[in-house]
Symmetry: C2
Subunit: 389 residues, 2 copies
């Protein structure tokens, strides 16, 4: 029996009317000068910006926008400058994981005199942070319910994911109807990301497990696999969007992370790609996942893959375990590149064969191996990259 802690203090406001009904009061509980952070402006097109600004009537709002996918530390520095200039006392992030992650670092950088990159590398730290409220605009990384921030540095080709106690949002407003306007492509990469959060962090691991928590993960994956193609075909399908939004939220926050976890081999491997190339995180994960499974398929790993297939992908029970595991990998491949329509090769993004070794070095981060269902060496990671080309 393992010892662990589970602490998920973010307050979730779920549903289509929460911004109108509760956002204003929630913000005012924490401050009166808001730094409003968002990305490229899609929230202006889909009406979310207007809804938020109406809810913020009576509060001083300072905006910072233009946060890019895989947010750069330089962008976080600029946002921090605005936060400091107006002495904001609460941060409101409206966007995808990139916006929310950038905002997390701003909450601490407000109290730090140097470059925010010092906080990302954890060479420096502060012991306070502004309260953060998150409004996710798509179902993906679930950053609205965890204390991790993924920040990139194009100067050093690094992508790091520091954890900070104050990175955990105090509140999250999850309105699945906002995601009605999310493109088929973003819906697909978001669904792949949700799935990988379940499988990579907690489900495909060697350590101790608690049965019903495993079954919770299977229920979540089964429903994400079922509803993502529906959301793509019918963007305003209520049940599909609600399922994806809630799954995105519930997978983080540690709820299904009880009993043990891994080094997140897929995530670390993907960071190796992202250190050099602009590929959306969920897409990098989608390209890696079936190849990683194929690479580590063995008598030892096959039972876990086959169980996943029967529980989540309608793979028949009673097959030979190795055949069942292969059927699972094939079904996942079909789901990702067929049903979700995602490009399946890294080469299509301009990734060069000559870079694969450097990417693997970045993924390992100086460690001997990445721990997971099967431990991966530098050579293993490079081989998996080759399979993705």
């Amino acid at each position: 029996m393992n010892n662990y802690t589970f602490y998920n203090p973010t307050k979730l406001y779920f549903g289509p009317d929460q911004i109108e009904n509760n956002l204003g009061a929630c913000v005012k509980k924490y401050g009166d000068k808001v730094l409003l952070m968002y990305g490229g402006g899609s929230i202006k097109k889909n009406g979310t910006y207007d809804r938020v600004m109406k809810a913020l009537e009576g509060v001083e709002v300072h905006e910072f926008h233009g946060i890019e996918p895989n947010p750069q530390y330089t962008t976080v520095n600029k946002a921090t400058d605005v936060c400091k200039e107006f002495d904001c006392n609460v941060v409101l992030a409206v966007g995808g994981g990139s916006v929310i992650d950038a905002a997390k670092v701003v909450t601490q950088a407000k109290f730090y005199d140097g470059d925010c990159w010092d906080l990302v590398t954890q060479e420096a730290s502060v012991d306070q942070g502004l309260p953060l409220i998150a409004i996710p605009t798509m179902a993906a990384a679930g950053s609205e319910n965890d204390a991790w921030a993924v920040i990139s540095n194009a100067d050093t080709n690094q992508k790091l994911d520091p954890w900070g106690e104050t990175f955990q949002p105090v509140a999250a407003f999850v309105d699945p109807t906002i995601s009605y306007t999310v493109s088929a492509y973003q819906t697909a990469v978001g669904a792949a990301d949700i799935l990988s959060h379940v499988t990579d962090i907690r489900y495909f691991i060697k350590e101790h497990k608690i049965s019903f928590i495993d079954e919770w993960m299977e229920a979540m994956c089964r429903n994400v696999i079922r509803t993502a193609p529906i959301a793509i075909a019918e963007p305003t399908n209520e049940e599909a969007r609600e399922t994806l939004s809630l799954a995105s939220y519930m997978i983080t926050g540690g709820i299904v992370d009880q009993g043990g976890s891994s080094d997140m081999p897929l995530h670390l491997t993907e960071y190796g790609i992202a250190a050099f190339y602009e590929i959306p995180h969920g897409h990098g994960i989608a390209i890696l996942m079936p190849r990683w499974m194929q690479y580590i398929l063995s008598d030892e790993t096959a039972p876990a893959f086959y169980r996943f297939g029967t529980a989540c992908m309608n793979i028949a029970e009673g097959m030979d375990v190795m055949e069942g595991a292969q059927a699972t990998i094939d079904a996942l491949t079909d789901w990702l590149y067929g049903k979700l329509g995602l490009e399946s090769h890294l080469a299509a993004f301009g990734v060069e064969e000559s870079k694969l070794h450097d990417m693997a070095v970045k993924a390992l981060r100086g460690k001997e191996v990445v721990h997971g269902l099967t431990d991966l060496t530098l050579e293993d990671v490079e081989n998996i990259f080759k399979m993705c080309m």
Copy 2:
């Protein structure tokens, strides 16, 4: 799509070494004068008391013990007197749901000059409460992770369940090995209580549901149904105790309560029994559950019961729905009174036919109906009581 909030700020310390490793620091974070509350002394016999006292070295400890099952408001008043006398600033409850519920009310009564019953009836209120830390000694009501307190009044034959923001423990130490010494009987009523928390509050309801949350509830019930007989036969079975302890914790706190909930018809009906008779809560629930299902069985309710049977009780798929629902009720009856060995009749506890009407009146609490999968009138509740005799 419903609007709802989900907020579960209790920090869970789970596992066999958490009291030794973290209780002292956790208590000191909140205060230096602890009111330690417990029940009849089983924690002295099983070693938990010594473990807790060792962890509390360096903290001023004031004890209040002797809290009875279905705790009386008069007992809460006495505990509050001790809390006030020594000006305690943190409350530590070590026991079952009764101890934790009594402690919840003490956290507020500390700041109230009158009788605590005023707070239970919510005729009076205070806007502050001491921080509460809970150490559950058995897997049952999950009171360690919610903000409800069930308090009885033998003078007025009332059993009420007020909700209070500060009733939510700031931390819970859940060590499944403590429950190794829980009797077969208490293990059985605890398991019945856990099951009813899933089915009564959230699973058997008419309202909107989110698929994977339903499947989470089924996973939880399936595993409770599987492991409770194991824990009874083999009290130190690690997996069984771990499953029951974590299920008890996770079912409360609102995690599976997302999307909608009912009036808790079984719980309200059981409060009608408890207002007049000393029957452990989980046992009252166990006697009621299959009779309630049988009473409301219809073309409308059968699909939900049959689905529960196939998902949680190994009832075969492909049966006629009404037959499948009946098979589910029969299997649940066998689990409760056969496998768990619980007495199945209210009459065995001295419940008199002549009291059934008064019990039903108490259960309804002045309302026309109790809402649930089927709404229940006063006559319905009385009829269900008759089936239980």
